[in-house]
Protein backbone atom coordinates (compact mmCIF):
# COMPACT_ATOMS: atom_id res chain seq x y z
CA UNK A 1 0.00 0.00 0.00
CA UNK A 2 1.31 3.46 -0.93
CA UNK A 3 2.24 5.99 1.71
CA UNK A 4 0.72 9.32 0.59
CA UNK A 5 3.50 11.81 -0.10
CA UNK A 6 1.58 14.71 1.44
CA UNK A 7 1.14 12.93 4.81
CA UNK A 8 3.71 13.15 7.60
CA UNK A 9 4.74 10.07 9.61
CA UNK A 10 5.99 9.33 13.12
CA UNK A 11 8.48 6.68 14.18
CA UNK A 12 5.63 5.12 16.17
CA UNK A 13 3.74 4.59 12.88
CA UNK A 14 1.06 7.27 13.03
CA UNK A 15 0.29 9.36 9.94
CA UNK A 16 -0.81 13.00 9.93
CA UNK A 17 -2.60 14.87 7.20
CA UNK A 18 -2.49 18.58 8.12
CA UNK A 19 -4.56 21.27 6.38
CA UNK A 20 -5.31 24.78 7.62
CA UNK A 21 -4.29 24.05 11.20
CA UNK A 22 -6.32 20.82 11.44
CA UNK A 23 -4.51 17.48 11.50
CA UNK A 24 -6.20 14.19 10.65
CA UNK A 25 -4.39 11.32 12.38
CA UNK A 26 -4.35 7.58 11.73
CA UNK A 27 -2.06 4.57 11.95
CA UNK A 28 -0.04 3.41 8.97
CA UNK A 29 -0.46 0.36 6.79
CA UNK A 30 2.75 -0.99 8.31
CA UNK A 31 1.23 -0.61 11.79
CA UNK A 32 -2.04 -2.37 10.94
CA UNK A 33 -0.10 -5.17 9.27
CA UNK A 34 2.05 -5.67 12.38
CA UNK A 35 -1.04 -5.73 14.58
CA UNK A 36 -3.15 -8.13 12.55
CA UNK A 37 -6.96 -8.24 12.71
CA UNK A 38 -8.06 -5.11 14.57
CA UNK A 39 -11.02 -5.81 16.85
CA UNK A 40 -11.20 -2.79 19.16
CA UNK A 41 -10.51 0.93 19.07
CA UNK A 42 -10.63 3.38 21.94
CA UNK A 43 -10.52 7.09 21.08
CA UNK A 44 -10.81 10.34 23.03
CA UNK A 45 -13.95 12.50 22.95
CA UNK A 46 -14.04 15.82 21.09
CA UNK A 47 -12.62 18.50 23.37
CA UNK A 48 -9.88 16.26 24.75
CA UNK A 49 -6.46 17.92 24.84
CA UNK A 50 -3.61 15.90 23.37
CA UNK A 51 0.07 16.35 24.13
CA UNK A 52 2.69 15.54 21.51
CA UNK A 53 4.26 12.16 22.19
CA UNK A 54 1.66 11.11 24.77
CA UNK A 55 -0.73 8.20 24.31
CA UNK A 56 -4.27 9.28 23.40
CA UNK A 57 -5.96 6.02 22.56
CA UNK A 58 -5.56 2.32 21.85
CA UNK A 59 -6.01 -0.03 18.96
CA UNK A 60 -6.32 -3.72 19.80
CA UNK A 61 -5.97 -6.77 17.62
CA UNK A 62 -6.89 -10.26 18.78
CA UNK A 63 -3.36 -10.67 20.05
CA UNK A 64 -2.02 -7.25 21.03
CA UNK A 65 -2.84 -3.89 22.57
CA UNK A 66 -1.21 -0.88 20.94
CA UNK A 67 -1.07 2.65 22.25
CA UNK A 68 -1.50 5.48 19.77
CA UNK A 69 0.68 8.53 20.40
CA UNK A 70 -0.19 12.11 19.52
CA UNK A 71 2.03 13.30 16.66
CA UNK A 72 1.38 16.90 17.79
CA UNK A 73 -0.36 18.75 20.60
CA UNK A 74 -3.86 20.10 20.14
CA UNK A 75 -7.55 19.66 20.82
CA UNK A 76 -9.63 16.83 19.40
CA UNK A 77 -12.42 18.25 17.25
CA UNK A 78 -13.71 14.95 15.92
CA UNK A 79 -13.17 11.24 16.59
CA UNK A 80 -14.05 8.58 14.02
CA UNK A 81 -17.11 6.95 15.59
CA UNK A 82 -17.48 4.52 12.69
CA UNK A 83 -14.49 2.58 13.97
CA UNK A 84 -16.31 1.46 17.10
CA UNK A 85 -18.59 -0.76 15.01
CA UNK A 86 -16.14 -1.45 12.21
CA UNK A 87 -12.65 -1.59 13.71
CA UNK A 88 -11.55 -3.83 10.82
CA UNK A 89 -11.60 -0.71 8.60
CA UNK A 90 -8.16 -0.06 10.10
CA UNK A 91 -6.92 -3.17 8.30
CA UNK A 92 -8.66 -2.45 5.00
CA UNK A 93 -8.20 1.32 4.62
CA UNK A 94 -5.69 2.57 7.19
CA UNK A 95 -4.71 5.73 5.29
CA UNK A 96 -8.26 6.76 4.40
CA UNK A 97 -11.61 5.73 5.94
CA UNK A 98 -9.90 4.55 9.13
CA UNK A 99 -8.65 7.96 10.25
CA UNK A 100 -8.82 8.10 14.07
CA UNK A 101 -9.13 11.75 15.15
CA UNK A 102 -9.01 15.28 13.80
CA UNK A 103 -6.99 17.66 15.94
CA UNK A 104 -6.88 21.44 15.97
CA UNK A 105 -3.14 21.93 16.12
CA UNK A 106 -1.62 24.00 18.89
CA UNK A 107 1.38 24.69 16.69
CA UNK A 108 1.77 23.46 13.13
CA UNK A 109 5.54 23.74 13.59
CA UNK A 110 5.41 20.63 15.76
CA UNK A 111 4.97 18.58 12.60
CA UNK A 112 8.25 19.79 11.09
CA UNK A 113 10.32 16.99 12.57
CA UNK A 114 8.14 14.20 11.13
CA UNK A 115 9.03 12.06 8.12
CA UNK A 116 7.54 12.47 4.65
CA UNK A 117 6.27 9.47 2.67
CA UNK A 118 9.58 8.43 1.15
CA UNK A 119 11.52 8.90 4.40
CA UNK A 120 8.94 6.75 6.19
CA UNK A 121 9.15 4.02 3.53
CA UNK A 122 12.92 3.98 3.97
CA UNK A 123 12.42 3.83 7.76
CA UNK A 124 10.15 0.77 7.66
CA UNK A 125 12.32 -0.92 5.04
CA UNK A 126 15.27 -0.60 7.44
CA UNK A 127 13.13 -2.02 10.24
CA UNK A 128 12.23 -5.00 8.08
CA UNK A 129 15.92 -5.73 7.49
CA UNK A 130 16.67 -5.49 11.19
CA UNK A 131 13.94 -8.05 11.94
CA UNK A 132 15.17 -10.57 9.40
CA UNK A 133 18.87 -10.13 10.24
Amino acid sequence: MAYPANYRYTKEHEWVDAKDGVATVGITDYAQNELGDVVFVELPQPGAKLTKGKSFGTVESVKAVSEIYAPASGEVIEANGELQNKPETINSDPHGAAWLVKIELASAAELDGLMDGSAYEAYIAAKGQEASA
Binding site: H13, A31, F40, E42, K63, A64, V65
Partner: protein, 392 residues
Protein backbone atom coordinates in the same frame (compact mmCIF):
# COMPACT_ATOMS: atom_id res chain seq x y z
CA UNK B 1 1.83 2.86 17.83
CA UNK B 2 3.72 0.37 19.80
CA UNK B 3 2.90 -3.28 19.33
CA UNK B 4 2.96 -5.29 22.51
CA UNK B 5 5.00 -8.05 20.93
CA UNK B 6 8.75 -7.71 21.30
CA UNK B 7 10.96 -8.21 18.26
CA UNK B 8 13.49 -11.00 18.14
CA UNK B 9 16.71 -9.71 19.59
CA UNK B 10 18.73 -12.48 21.18
CA UNK B 11 19.63 -15.84 19.68
CA UNK B 12 16.37 -17.75 19.50
CA UNK B 13 15.83 -21.43 19.00
CA UNK B 14 14.35 -22.56 15.73
CA UNK B 15 12.30 -25.53 14.66
CA UNK B 16 13.29 -27.36 11.45
CA UNK B 17 10.42 -25.52 9.72
CA UNK B 18 11.70 -22.04 10.58
CA UNK B 19 12.86 -21.22 7.03
CA UNK B 20 9.59 -22.44 5.61
CA UNK B 21 7.57 -20.21 7.97
CA UNK B 22 9.63 -17.25 6.86
CA UNK B 23 9.16 -18.11 3.20
CA UNK B 24 5.40 -18.19 3.86
CA UNK B 25 5.67 -14.66 5.25
CA UNK B 26 4.73 -15.62 8.80
CA UNK B 27 4.95 -12.96 11.47
CA UNK B 28 7.49 -14.42 13.90
CA UNK B 29 7.66 -13.85 17.66
CA UNK B 30 9.78 -14.92 20.56
CA UNK B 31 7.74 -17.59 22.32
CA UNK B 32 9.57 -18.88 25.38
CA UNK B 33 12.94 -18.48 23.66
CA UNK B 34 11.72 -19.92 20.35
CA UNK B 35 11.37 -18.07 17.08
CA UNK B 36 7.82 -19.13 16.19
CA UNK B 37 5.12 -18.07 13.73
CA UNK B 38 2.31 -16.18 15.48
CA UNK B 39 0.22 -15.87 12.32
CA UNK B 40 0.48 -15.99 8.54
CA UNK B 41 -0.85 -12.62 7.29
CA UNK B 42 -0.52 -13.60 3.61
CA UNK B 43 -3.22 -16.27 3.97
CA UNK B 44 -5.60 -14.31 6.16
CA UNK B 45 -3.98 -14.13 9.58
CA UNK B 46 -5.07 -15.19 13.04
CA UNK B 47 -8.83 -14.82 12.71
CA UNK B 48 -8.98 -16.83 9.49
CA UNK B 49 -6.68 -19.48 11.00
CA UNK B 50 -8.86 -19.79 14.10
CA UNK B 51 -12.03 -20.17 12.02
CA UNK B 52 -10.56 -22.73 9.66
CA UNK B 53 -9.69 -24.98 12.62
CA UNK B 54 -13.24 -24.71 13.97
CA UNK B 55 -14.87 -25.22 10.56
CA UNK B 56 -12.45 -27.22 8.43
CA UNK B 57 -8.75 -27.85 9.08
CA UNK B 58 -5.48 -26.12 9.89
CA UNK B 59 -1.90 -27.23 10.52
CA UNK B 60 0.48 -26.01 13.24
CA UNK B 61 4.21 -26.52 13.67
CA UNK B 62 4.51 -27.55 17.32
CA UNK B 63 8.04 -28.92 17.11
CA UNK B 64 9.09 -26.64 19.96
CA UNK B 65 7.25 -28.97 22.33
CA UNK B 66 9.55 -31.32 24.20
CA UNK B 67 9.46 -35.11 24.37
CA UNK B 68 10.80 -37.23 27.21
CA UNK B 69 10.82 -41.01 26.98
CA UNK B 70 10.91 -43.05 30.17
CA UNK B 71 11.43 -46.75 29.62
CA UNK B 72 12.53 -49.98 31.31
CA UNK B 73 15.87 -50.21 33.08
CA UNK B 74 17.17 -53.60 34.21
CA UNK B 75 13.86 -55.05 35.33
CA UNK B 76 10.36 -54.47 34.00
CA UNK B 77 8.08 -52.14 35.94
CA UNK B 78 10.64 -49.49 36.82
CA UNK B 79 9.43 -47.00 34.23
CA UNK B 80 5.79 -47.31 35.31
CA UNK B 81 6.79 -46.82 38.94
CA UNK B 82 8.77 -43.71 37.98
CA UNK B 83 5.89 -42.29 35.94
CA UNK B 84 3.46 -42.95 38.79
CA UNK B 85 5.80 -41.05 41.12
CA UNK B 86 6.22 -38.10 38.70
CA UNK B 87 2.76 -37.68 37.26
CA UNK B 88 -0.53 -36.96 39.06
CA UNK B 89 -2.76 -39.02 36.77
CA UNK B 90 -2.82 -42.83 37.03
CA UNK B 91 -0.61 -44.22 34.24
CA UNK B 92 -1.40 -47.81 35.29
CA UNK B 93 -4.87 -47.26 33.82
CA UNK B 94 -3.47 -46.49 30.37
CA UNK B 95 -3.59 -49.18 27.73
CA UNK B 96 -0.66 -49.43 25.34
CA UNK B 97 -1.53 -46.92 22.62
CA UNK B 98 -3.45 -44.66 24.95
CA UNK B 99 -2.54 -41.21 26.27
CA UNK B 100 -3.87 -38.90 28.95
CA UNK B 101 -3.55 -35.39 30.25
CA UNK B 102 -1.55 -35.11 33.45
CA UNK B 103 0.93 -32.88 35.26
CA UNK B 104 4.21 -33.09 37.13
CA UNK B 105 3.93 -31.39 40.49
CA UNK B 106 6.24 -29.83 43.04
CA UNK B 107 6.00 -31.21 46.58
CA UNK B 108 3.75 -28.17 47.27
CA UNK B 109 1.12 -29.55 44.86
CA UNK B 110 1.81 -26.78 42.34
CA UNK B 111 2.84 -27.27 38.73
CA UNK B 112 6.24 -28.14 37.29
CA UNK B 113 4.43 -28.52 33.96
CA UNK B 114 1.40 -30.14 32.41
CA UNK B 115 2.12 -33.13 30.18
CA UNK B 116 0.48 -35.59 27.85
CA UNK B 117 1.56 -39.08 28.93
CA UNK B 118 1.58 -41.68 26.15
CA UNK B 119 1.96 -45.37 26.96
CA UNK B 120 4.21 -46.71 24.20
CA UNK B 121 4.64 -50.16 25.73
CA UNK B 122 4.01 -52.09 28.93
CA UNK B 123 6.86 -50.22 30.64
CA UNK B 124 7.57 -47.46 28.12
CA UNK B 125 6.16 -43.94 28.26
CA UNK B 126 6.46 -40.68 26.34
CA UNK B 127 5.83 -37.31 28.03
CA UNK B 128 5.05 -34.45 25.68
CA UNK B 129 5.94 -31.26 27.52
CA UNK B 130 5.90 -27.49 27.02
CA UNK B 131 8.58 -25.64 25.04
CA UNK B 132 9.25 -22.94 27.60
CA UNK B 133 9.84 -25.47 30.39
CA UNK B 134 11.88 -28.05 28.49
CA UNK B 135 15.16 -27.78 30.41
CA UNK B 136 13.42 -27.50 33.76
CA UNK B 137 11.25 -30.52 32.97
CA UNK B 138 14.06 -32.76 31.81
CA UNK B 139 16.13 -31.97 34.93
CA UNK B 140 13.07 -32.52 37.07
CA UNK B 141 12.44 -35.92 35.49
CA UNK B 142 16.11 -36.94 35.80
CA UNK B 143 16.39 -35.75 39.42
CA UNK B 144 13.18 -37.40 40.53
CA UNK B 145 13.69 -40.76 38.85
CA UNK B 146 17.17 -41.48 40.26
CA UNK B 147 15.86 -44.04 42.72
CA UNK B 148 13.85 -45.81 40.01
CA UNK B 149 15.06 -48.49 37.67
CA UNK B 150 14.32 -46.73 34.39
CA UNK B 151 15.99 -44.97 31.46
CA UNK B 152 15.20 -41.33 30.76
CA UNK B 153 15.80 -39.99 27.26
CA UNK B 154 15.34 -36.43 26.04
CA UNK B 155 13.98 -36.83 22.51
CA UNK B 156 12.91 -33.21 22.16
CA UNK B 157 15.12 -32.44 19.18
CA UNK B 158 14.52 -35.73 17.43
CA UNK B 159 11.05 -34.92 16.11
CA UNK B 160 9.16 -32.43 14.08
CA UNK B 161 5.69 -32.39 15.56
CA UNK B 162 2.78 -31.22 13.43
CA UNK B 163 -0.73 -30.69 14.76
CA UNK B 164 -3.40 -31.15 12.11
CA UNK B 165 -6.56 -29.84 13.72
CA UNK B 166 -10.19 -29.39 12.81
CA UNK B 167 -13.22 -31.45 11.74
CA UNK B 168 -11.55 -32.29 8.39
CA UNK B 169 -8.16 -33.20 9.92
CA UNK B 170 -9.05 -36.89 9.66
CA UNK B 171 -9.79 -36.53 5.93
CA UNK B 172 -6.52 -34.74 5.27
CA UNK B 173 -4.28 -37.11 7.20
CA UNK B 174 -6.06 -40.19 5.85
CA UNK B 175 -4.73 -39.36 2.39
CA UNK B 176 -1.15 -39.50 3.72
CA UNK B 177 -1.14 -42.68 5.79
CA UNK B 178 -1.82 -46.41 5.50
CA UNK B 179 -3.36 -46.43 8.99
CA UNK B 180 -7.16 -46.38 9.13
CA UNK B 181 -7.72 -43.30 11.26
CA UNK B 182 -11.46 -43.40 11.91
CA UNK B 183 -11.31 -46.04 14.70
CA UNK B 184 -8.60 -44.16 16.64
CA UNK B 185 -10.33 -42.67 19.64
CA UNK B 186 -9.63 -39.30 21.16
CA UNK B 187 -6.38 -39.45 23.18
CA UNK B 188 -5.29 -42.72 21.60
CA UNK B 189 -2.39 -43.12 19.22
CA UNK B 190 -0.83 -45.61 16.87
CA UNK B 191 2.20 -45.99 14.62
CA UNK B 192 2.14 -46.24 10.85
CA UNK B 193 3.50 -44.95 7.58
CA UNK B 194 2.99 -41.22 7.03
CA UNK B 195 4.11 -39.64 3.73
CA UNK B 196 6.10 -42.80 3.03
CA UNK B 197 7.90 -42.64 6.38
CA UNK B 198 7.41 -45.92 8.27
CA UNK B 199 6.73 -46.25 12.00
CA UNK B 200 5.56 -42.69 12.64
CA UNK B 201 3.53 -41.90 15.76
CA UNK B 202 0.03 -40.62 15.01
CA UNK B 203 -1.93 -39.38 18.04
CA UNK B 204 -5.51 -38.14 18.16
CA UNK B 205 -4.57 -35.25 20.42
CA UNK B 206 -4.37 -31.48 20.19
CA UNK B 207 -4.66 -28.16 21.92
CA UNK B 208 -7.55 -26.56 20.08
CA UNK B 209 -10.73 -28.11 21.51
CA UNK B 210 -11.32 -29.60 18.07
CA UNK B 211 -10.85 -33.07 16.66
CA UNK B 212 -7.39 -33.57 15.20
CA UNK B 213 -4.09 -35.40 15.12
CA UNK B 214 -0.52 -34.79 16.09
CA UNK B 215 2.15 -36.53 14.05
CA UNK B 216 5.81 -37.01 14.91
CA UNK B 217 8.28 -37.23 12.03
CA UNK B 218 12.09 -37.11 11.86
CA UNK B 219 13.35 -33.64 12.75
CA UNK B 220 15.56 -32.87 9.76
CA UNK B 221 14.68 -29.91 7.54
CA UNK B 222 14.13 -31.86 4.31
CA UNK B 223 11.77 -34.43 5.85
CA UNK B 224 9.95 -31.80 7.91
CA UNK B 225 9.30 -29.61 4.88
CA UNK B 226 8.29 -32.60 2.75
CA UNK B 227 5.66 -33.64 5.32
CA UNK B 228 4.41 -30.08 5.84
CA UNK B 229 3.98 -29.57 2.09
CA UNK B 230 2.26 -32.93 1.72
CA UNK B 231 -0.22 -31.97 4.46
CA UNK B 232 -0.89 -28.62 2.76
CA UNK B 233 -1.44 -30.34 -0.61
CA UNK B 234 -3.72 -32.97 0.91
CA UNK B 235 -5.68 -30.22 2.64
CA UNK B 236 -6.15 -28.02 -0.43
CA UNK B 237 -9.67 -29.28 -1.12
CA UNK B 238 -10.65 -28.33 2.44
CA UNK B 239 -8.97 -24.90 2.18
CA UNK B 240 -6.41 -25.87 4.82
CA UNK B 241 -4.40 -22.99 6.31
CA UNK B 242 -1.06 -22.91 8.05
CA UNK B 243 -1.79 -21.68 11.58
CA UNK B 244 0.35 -19.87 14.12
CA UNK B 245 0.59 -19.65 17.87
CA UNK B 246 -1.92 -16.77 17.91
CA UNK B 247 -4.77 -19.00 16.75
CA UNK B 248 -3.47 -21.84 18.91
CA UNK B 249 -3.90 -19.57 21.92
CA UNK B 250 -7.42 -18.35 21.11
CA UNK B 251 -8.52 -21.90 20.27
CA UNK B 252 -7.20 -23.37 23.51
CA UNK B 253 -8.65 -20.48 25.52
CA UNK B 254 -12.15 -21.04 24.13
CA UNK B 255 -11.79 -24.71 25.08
CA UNK B 256 -10.44 -23.72 28.54
CA UNK B 257 -7.22 -25.65 28.14
CA UNK B 258 -4.56 -24.49 30.59
CA UNK B 259 -1.40 -22.69 29.47
CA UNK B 260 1.71 -22.98 31.63
CA UNK B 261 2.66 -19.63 33.16
CA UNK B 262 -0.96 -18.51 32.96
CA UNK B 263 -3.60 -20.85 34.38
CA UNK B 264 -1.00 -23.17 35.90
CA UNK B 265 2.40 -22.41 37.40
CA UNK B 266 4.64 -23.13 40.35
CA UNK B 267 2.35 -20.88 42.42
CA UNK B 268 -0.99 -22.51 41.63
CA UNK B 269 -2.12 -25.90 42.87
CA UNK B 270 -4.21 -28.56 41.17
CA UNK B 271 -7.44 -27.81 43.04
CA UNK B 272 -7.25 -24.11 42.29
CA UNK B 273 -6.70 -24.83 38.60
CA UNK B 274 -9.77 -27.08 38.60
CA UNK B 275 -7.84 -30.04 37.21
CA UNK B 276 -9.15 -32.48 39.85
CA UNK B 277 -10.28 -35.08 37.36
CA UNK B 278 -6.73 -35.61 36.12
CA UNK B 279 -5.33 -35.98 39.64
CA UNK B 280 -5.73 -39.48 41.10
CA UNK B 281 -5.36 -39.17 44.85
CA UNK B 282 -6.48 -42.79 45.23
CA UNK B 283 -3.36 -44.16 43.54
CA UNK B 284 -0.35 -44.48 45.82
CA UNK B 285 2.26 -41.78 46.49
CA UNK B 286 3.23 -39.18 43.89
CA UNK B 287 5.13 -35.90 44.19
CA UNK B 288 2.71 -33.27 45.50
CA UNK B 289 0.13 -35.68 46.87
CA UNK B 290 0.63 -34.91 50.56
CA UNK B 291 0.39 -31.16 50.04
CA UNK B 292 -2.75 -31.59 47.95
CA UNK B 293 -4.38 -33.71 50.65
CA UNK B 294 -3.67 -30.97 53.15
CA UNK B 295 -4.86 -28.25 50.74
CA UNK B 296 -8.18 -29.95 50.14
CA UNK B 297 -8.72 -30.24 53.91
CA UNK B 298 -7.97 -26.52 54.33
CA UNK B 299 -10.32 -25.42 51.56
CA UNK B 300 -9.65 -23.42 48.40
CA UNK B 301 -8.32 -19.88 48.47
CA UNK B 302 -9.03 -19.16 44.81
CA UNK B 303 -10.67 -20.77 41.85
CA UNK B 304 -10.28 -20.52 38.10
CA UNK B 305 -13.34 -18.99 36.46
CA UNK B 306 -14.51 -18.02 33.01
CA UNK B 307 -15.47 -14.41 32.37
CA UNK B 308 -17.38 -12.79 29.58
CA UNK B 309 -17.10 -9.02 29.22
CA UNK B 310 -20.47 -7.31 29.43
CA UNK B 311 -19.29 -3.77 28.84
CA UNK B 312 -16.96 -2.64 26.07
CA UNK B 313 -13.38 -3.69 26.68
CA UNK B 314 -11.03 -6.62 26.26
CA UNK B 315 -9.61 -8.33 29.34
CA UNK B 316 -5.96 -9.27 28.87
CA UNK B 317 -3.47 -11.41 30.75
CA UNK B 318 -2.58 -9.96 34.18
CA UNK B 319 -5.39 -7.38 34.27
CA UNK B 320 -6.79 -6.97 37.79
CA UNK B 321 -10.25 -8.19 38.79
CA UNK B 322 -12.49 -6.37 41.28
CA UNK B 323 -15.76 -7.33 42.95
CA UNK B 324 -18.91 -5.25 42.56
CA UNK B 325 -17.95 -3.28 45.70
CA UNK B 326 -14.64 -2.24 44.15
CA UNK B 327 -12.39 -4.55 46.19
CA UNK B 328 -9.47 -6.09 44.27
CA UNK B 329 -10.16 -9.84 44.27
CA UNK B 330 -8.11 -11.49 41.58
CA UNK B 331 -6.32 -11.49 38.27
CA UNK B 332 -6.90 -12.47 34.64
CA UNK B 333 -4.66 -15.34 33.52
CA UNK B 334 -5.66 -15.31 29.83
CA UNK B 335 -7.95 -12.88 28.06
CA UNK B 336 -8.79 -12.31 24.43
CA UNK B 337 -11.54 -11.69 21.95
CA UNK B 338 -13.12 -15.04 21.08
CA UNK B 339 -13.25 -15.41 17.30
CA UNK B 340 -15.83 -18.22 17.54
CA UNK B 341 -18.20 -16.56 20.00
CA UNK B 342 -17.53 -12.95 18.92
CA UNK B 343 -17.34 -12.00 22.59
CA UNK B 344 -14.47 -10.91 24.80
CA UNK B 345 -13.60 -13.76 27.16
CA UNK B 346 -11.10 -14.41 29.91
CA UNK B 347 -9.96 -16.89 32.53
CA UNK B 348 -9.23 -15.49 35.98
CA UNK B 349 -8.50 -16.49 39.54
CA UNK B 350 -10.91 -15.18 42.19
CA UNK B 351 -11.97 -16.33 45.67
CA UNK B 352 -14.40 -19.29 45.51
CA UNK B 353 -17.20 -17.13 46.95
CA UNK B 354 -17.15 -15.11 43.71
CA UNK B 355 -16.89 -18.08 41.36
CA UNK B 356 -20.61 -18.77 40.88
CA UNK B 357 -21.90 -18.44 37.31
CA UNK B 358 -23.74 -15.14 36.95
CA UNK B 359 -21.59 -13.22 39.44
CA UNK B 360 -20.79 -9.70 38.24
CA UNK B 361 -17.13 -8.69 38.47
CA UNK B 362 -15.08 -5.79 37.12
CA UNK B 363 -11.90 -6.02 35.08
CA UNK B 364 -9.53 -3.08 35.11
CA UNK B 365 -8.78 -2.19 31.51
CA UNK B 366 -6.30 0.71 31.40
CA UNK B 367 -7.57 2.46 34.55
CA UNK B 368 -11.23 1.86 33.70
CA UNK B 369 -13.25 -0.83 35.43
CA UNK B 370 -15.27 -2.74 32.90
CA UNK B 371 -18.18 -5.02 33.82
CA UNK B 372 -17.84 -8.76 33.27
CA UNK B 373 -19.84 -11.81 34.27
CA UNK B 374 -18.81 -15.25 35.44
CA UNK B 375 -19.89 -17.80 32.81
CA UNK B 376 -19.81 -21.58 32.51
CA UNK B 377 -16.69 -23.07 30.93
CA UNK B 378 -15.45 -24.26 28.55
CA UNK B 379 -16.56 -21.27 26.50
CA UNK B 380 -16.68 -23.53 23.47
CA UNK B 381 -17.38 -27.23 23.19
CA UNK B 382 -17.18 -28.95 19.85
CA UNK B 383 -20.23 -30.74 18.51
CA UNK B 384 -19.80 -34.48 19.09
CA UNK B 385 -20.08 -36.95 16.27
CA UNK B 386 -21.49 -40.36 17.17
CA UNK B 387 -18.54 -42.17 15.58
CA UNK B 388 -15.97 -40.25 17.56
CA UNK B 389 -14.41 -41.27 20.85
CA UNK B 390 -14.83 -39.41 24.11
CA UNK B 391 -12.19 -37.72 26.22
CA UNK B 392 -10.55 -40.00 28.77
Amino acid sequence: MDSGISPNITELRKTPLNDLHRRLGARMVNFGGWDMPVEYPATGGLMAEHRTVRNSVGVFDVSHMGDIRIHTGKTPGGALAAVQHLSMNDASKLAIGQAHYSAMLYPEGTFVDDVIVHRLGEDDFLFVINAGTREKDISWVRDNTKSFDCVVEDLSDAYTQLAIQGPRAVDVLQKLTDVTLAPIKNYWFTHGTVCGLPGRMIARTGYTGEDGFEIYVPGDVATSEMVWNAVMDAGKEFAILSCGLGARNTLRLEAKMALYGHEISGEINVWEAGLDRYCKMEKREFVGRAALAKASANGLKRALIGLEMIERGIARDEYKVFDAAGEEVGVVTSGSPSPTLCKNIALAYVPPALAAVGTTLLVEVRSQRVKAQVVATPFYKRPRKAAQGVTN
